[in-house]
Assembly symmetry: C2
Homo-oligomer: 241 residues x 2
């Protein structure tokens, strides 16, 4: 059934940019609404009796199954022409409902953008009751998104660039243990910029935030790299490379 007005705050919603790292590429979760051809960021409404943050967390949990999520708010989009009535009508029609023209979900919406960084391999994307699919897309090969969702994605990536080094970005995109090469790849893909291997390694080790573990024997005919994990106790003074 449709969300009920009295339970929710009107005119305000959230959208999440959920990112995962495959080891080579940055992926984003995009959902497609049933029979509507509408691609959108996973979003939702805020209940009158819940924190904004909790509403977002609930939405991400329902779609990824994850309990512990690194969530950061990055921007609130409030242009008056953010008109979601057309896609929402199509979505409702796709589900077999007809919305009266004064239905609250057809009104103007201001949306709060959050990004979530998750471990790509731990997630089983789950469609919600309005969407028939939710899938990982390469961040550089997105379908056409509804309303201003493309702009929201851009702003999220910009914020992540600023946050990298200040917030535990790498920690959340990488598995518990990872190689230096993977860590470097995360930095490169987010900052869209290449680093010199030796300098990157020296700097990362010099910051004293990594703990070295056993080697990773990949089967390749070359020296096996060490695995590292973040030394979370020493992460306070972290800086950009």
């Amino acid at each position: 059934m449709l969300p009920i007005e009295k339970d929710h705050i009107t005119n305000l919603a959230y959208d999440t940019v959920i990112l995962g790292f495959t080891g080579k590429e940055l992926k984003i979760l995009i959902l497609e609404y049933q029979n509507s051809g509408q691609f959108a960021l996973p979003g939702g409404f805020i209940r009158r009796d819940e924190d904004l943050y909790d509403a977002v967390k609930r939405g991400v949990r329902e779609r990824t199954g994850l309990e512990k999520i690194h969530l950061e708010q990055f921007h609130t989009f409030g242009k008056k022409n953010r008109d979601s009535s057309y896609p929402f009508k199509k979505i409702a029609a796709g589900k077999g409902y007809t919305l009266t023209s004064d239905h609250w979900v057809l009104d103007r919406f201001i949306t709060v953008g959050y990004y979530a960084l998750i471990n790509y391999n731990q997630v089983q994307p789950t469609p919600d009751k309005f969407s028939d699919s939710i899938n990982w897309y390469d961040i550089n090969k997105l379908p056409k998104l509804m309303i201003d969702h493309a702009e929201i994605v851009d702003k999220a990536l910009e914020s992540i660039q600023h946050d990298l080094g200040k917030k535990p970005i790498g920690e959340n995109l990488l598995p518990e243990k990872f190689t230096m090469k993977e860590l470097q790849k995360v930095y490169e893909i987010i900052l869209n910029k290449e680093f010199r291997r030796t300098t990157f390694q020296r700097k990362m080790l010099g910051m004293d935030i990594l703990k070295r573990h056993e080697k990773l024997y990949t089967g390749a005919a070359n020296k096996a790299p060490y695995l590292y994990s973040f030394n979370t106790k020493k992460m306070e003074k972290a800086e950009k490379p």
Copy 2:
């Protein structure tokens, strides 16, 4: 008269951290509501037919008289216990109104925080119709603010720290022409950290974003400093000192 519900978006407001620089200290505009003892950030509601950004701009313009303002959104505060009903009742009572308990302004509010950087000397703070005074306060000597406004101020300052160097912070806090010492003071006060005079000067000049003008004869018995202005054409590659 009171704001009318049908003209405004409910449950959503904005608050602005308006900062000015005296040459020595960072000041913030705080308003005090009539007969209520309530100190608050200048804020307001969003009309149903205006952009969020325009609503904020309108609010700042009405209180400062400025048309060109550097406004940046920094965070949206959405805890469910953001209860402004008590202060709002007092404010209304102070104005001689009584609000019915189901009045929309007494409901839960989510607020979008913006900061504005303005030229301290160009402003004549103007109270709005609900407040009886609006004054500059030293950023380190604030009165007790209502609800979570102190937290909003903190978050604003944190954001400005991050933005310094990336956005034209100094440009907006300083007059058209300024001395190197004033510029350094802005950096020091925002980053809460002192810089070596010679290194700061070398770095600033080295960035090639300043234009040198005539000297400023202050009347003091020492060498007169040069005045500088920002070379806005070359500001793209600006970095932190």
